[in-house]
Symmetry: D2
Subunit: 325 residues, 4 copies
């Protein structure tokens, strides 16, 4: 539980490029787990954390946190070149019915999607700080052939452990936080306290703002992917560092609040948490059903399995994380 | 443990279209879980099975069973229209270094892959029996827009439970079974007995033939994807039904032995297990590291999390299943 | 020049499924060029037409009629599953600059696009009339493996000849026809007469409505791809048949007027011109620059080369047609 | 006709990085057509050349020079990340037959292909000379967003003119030149002389080696795409410069002879012709049928229309060039 004077409690940070640089230096994990380390904060998760997390499986109830992959997705061209997943068929039942198949009647299909177009992890090679990535790896290691350093494959068996839901929206008594509404360190602490849940080393912290549900209720994504959003304030990088979390996830596109707290740089919090801290980040998690359940049984901790696809050299992976209570 | 006279012990089945039809009738689960059921044998997994499985997490050691997704994959054009996963970059570190990005330096990428091109689940709409799918759904429900019935999305939170490794290759004392070498029901029982592990309702049974490792050792996939292979004999559909397994997985392309035991139809076992039984099937699992560990600690059971991507209407999903001991 | 009483002059057709069926019977070219014919009205173009068309190249001025292929395209999800072309890089100059290439410094790339997402031809297998295609080919010839009949490859050396621009918008004295504004046979005749150009056997008739330019001027495509549009009235199928044109093209998404003249069927004119007549149709042609030039020199005829890509089994081809004066 | 002492007749060039650098300086067209020029040697083609070329259309016979786009293509992973074109269906006749469509029965499809995977043009941004492209444009203009300079769109209406076939294989009396067999400037001159055809300013020179036909006859592409091949000797860059050709094309993967004449650099001729000269280059042209016809009527010149797709920022375009006699 936070105490006054904790270095990760809320402070008045005037976010700027200078504040980014300062946080970068203060929070850097470069070298902390060896010069060849490729997984950053996932090092906080040891067998002990996994064994402990397994004990949270008490009711045998599983929640799938991945949004549907398809044309209904949130991409609207606001950031980069991403598109919504394209699912196409290579063989169909209608072919079989028309006598176009022999000896084995089957359907087959394909998917074409940006890695980060729906629920996904960012790998540690997703964001650069000037010419460097996490742990000092040079940005030139990421070329058209992919990430020769820090790709998601390094985490292929590492995204398992204890999960905690911080249901900020419910704690605040709203359906959704507003676009631009920042979540402070004190908010995080107070929400955890209200939920009677402790944040521990190696945890996957899932932060619910309600924004995704608001979009789905409204029937249109609007600026969800790349526009304004509620989210973590910049100061949370200190909180996440002190708590030694394994990863942080949210029901928003980019976890951090938008518009950002500064115009100096785009996504100031990203500048720090990925390249300095090596923090694993999960975005666009569907937390609705899990949050309902946690509110009902008052248990906000669970076993979490967010295994990525094994895509060598990828900036992350589409996922369908499982929370198991 | 199997007893003489068990209906699932080895029998002399002369595999033929007739044998397929007979097994289809005998093993049909149509209607067993309601006329609208979309998940078949995953119904065998209830909260009790999941809670029990969680207790198998004792050492906190995780194994990733998905092969790398990329051009190194096994597709060689032997079956259908599948290709190896194509990973392309949408933004790179080299762009950032050249001053082509502003305010956020980042990498981004995309993947284009057949659903079944690497480690994956088959959903229950993957195979037709004449004009029907599992549970009597009509094949016309699978058109160019995807599977309007039996898509993988129905299993988005269902592929979790107890896993058991039947390391047939090691039990037989070989690096790999030979192409065309069938695994009988008696083999399955004897291997389980030797491993001192019991097959229980709802289990995910992982069958290791060694074929994948042989390909990797040889440095070329050859006919792995669609050619000859060791694998389960046709009779195993009876065994799997009696054991009430949740799913069956293997380190081969198609689980069942090839050349098939009949020339009447292609993949006779598939004709039965998917459309009649509604059995979830996992293919191309990388079992090497897990098998080494099981041989070392003599523990062949574990918590299994094989969450699929949430792809509405898909014939399955690429996966990176996790075995946790 | 049209004369009163010509069967292709404007008539009062009340468009309905019945009118479609009647036109289908009246205008059918099934068997006209042999039972194996795969190119329909392109048979109207013989070497004589090509030699004559070559004589229209007098000024050596070439016009490119294809719109840019990329994310700026008109697809907005209003019809089927089409997306705008996705152009991605496989190797870049920034990679070369970062020292990531050796011995050959190069750029490489890929494109992923629906065949009909931008300027394109429809091949004759694009539209079915009940269970049949042009020339009586069965619809089952078009399965997930593509068109085994009537694919665009049959026209790989056939889309060359005389082109004529009918600049309906300019003739009507407007920048653009309105959505829903139909072009009648009398309009076609009167416009040709005003332009002092004759429609001849085998011609590619390019009909300009101005709609595309209006969209580009407005800066947004809106309902261009699949929504309302000006275009040919249903009766034009008679006109095109009588004139024995080789193909008809327009600056709209679908050539025919929308909303359609009936609610019985979608795209009634398509139902007739492709499967009955075997008419080649070009859509989303950028006619702005050509039209300016024709207005300036009063010459509305030209050599036309609209070679498709050689994509076996395709419903058409993306193209960049050339008009050469 | 070549004369002894012509600077473009065969000379003893010992190909090396030094020879590349020397040729680069000698043959540079940087600035020749203005500092903003983006089309290089296509500037040699003026309206006069096009009007003259049109007069070569005498028999009204058209030849399509593009190979089929599909899985039958030549890509075998020998160069870069290219794959064979993937053609998939988005709507089918079998869907229509199964009652899965309404009011418009249609087929639809998509293609996903590397720009340079089959018959194609190289645009001038395809190859870099150190940090520069043709006309001094910097390599950083080619990033993950494509070519902001020298993309194929600049040639969208420029790839039309006179074509000449130099049928080297037939002139040498062989079905195919051998891999590694270089075509000298004297060969080019002698072949043209034997064909009684003159190379003129702005011409598209099509060089036939027979290699593609040999592959097709043999039934397998082998090393066609990126392996050894017959082709132009390095010295031909001088010949092509002196002749002021508009473009050069061949039935091989890369026009120039492989193994290359030096090990210093990969594709030494490419280093010069694209970035120094700004020469348009066409690869993998199917010249079989055209060559047969030319041999029969002894006419080796024709109207040539090789319009690219209008793909802004692309390294070239897939094409189906038309030779019209």
């Amino acid at each position: 539980m936070p105490k006054a004077g904790d270095k990760s409690s809320s402070r008045d940070i005037k976010v700027s490029k200078g504040a980014v640089d300062e946080a970068f230096k203060t929070l850097s994990n470069w070298g902390r787990w060896g010069k060849d380390d490729q997984i950053g904060t996932l090092n906080h998760i040891t067998p002990a954390e996994i064994v402990a997390a397994a004990k949270l499986i008490k009711r045998g109830k599983t929640f799938a946190l991945g949004i549907p992959l398809g044309q209904s997705g949130p991409q609207r061209g606001l950031f980069g070149k991403r598109w919504n997943p394209i699912h196409t068929m290579l063989a169909t039942g209608t072919d079989a019915l028309a006598g176009r198949q022999e000896r084995l009647l089957y359907a087959d299909d394909a998917i074409n999607m940006p890695i980060q177009s729906a629920t996904h992890w960012d790998s540690l090679g997703h964001i650069f700080y000037h010419d460097k990535m996490y742990n000092g790896h040079h940005a030139s290691a990421v070329d058209s052939n992919g990430l020769s350093k820090l790709g998601i494959e390094h985490a292929k068996d590492k995204l398992v452990g204890r999960g905690v839901l911080l249901d900020i929206a419910r704690w605040k008594g709203v359906d959704t936080l507003e676009d631009g509404e920042g979540i402070s360190n004190d908010d995080l602490d107070a929400c955890a306290a209200a939920e009677k849940v402790e944040i521990r080393k190696g945890d996957f912290v899932l932060v619910r703002t309600g924004q995704m549900e608001a979009c789905l209720k409204r029937g249109e994504w609007g600026g969800y992917a790349g526009g304004d959003a509620p989210g973590l304030k910049f100061e949370s990088c200190y909180w996440l560092h002190e708590k030694q979390v394994g990863g942080v996830c949210s029901d928003t596109w980019g976890v951090e609040v938008r518009p950002n707290e500064t115009k100096d740089v785009n996504q100031p919090w990203h500048w720090v948490v990925i390249p300095a801290m090596g923090l694993y980040m999960g975005e666009m998690f569907d937390l609705a059903e899990l949050a309902e359940d946690c509110a009902a049984d008052k248990v906000y901790e669970f076993f979490f399995c967010g295994a990525p696809l094994n895509i060598p050299g990828a900036t992350g992976s589409p996922i369908n994380p499982q929370a198991i209570k």
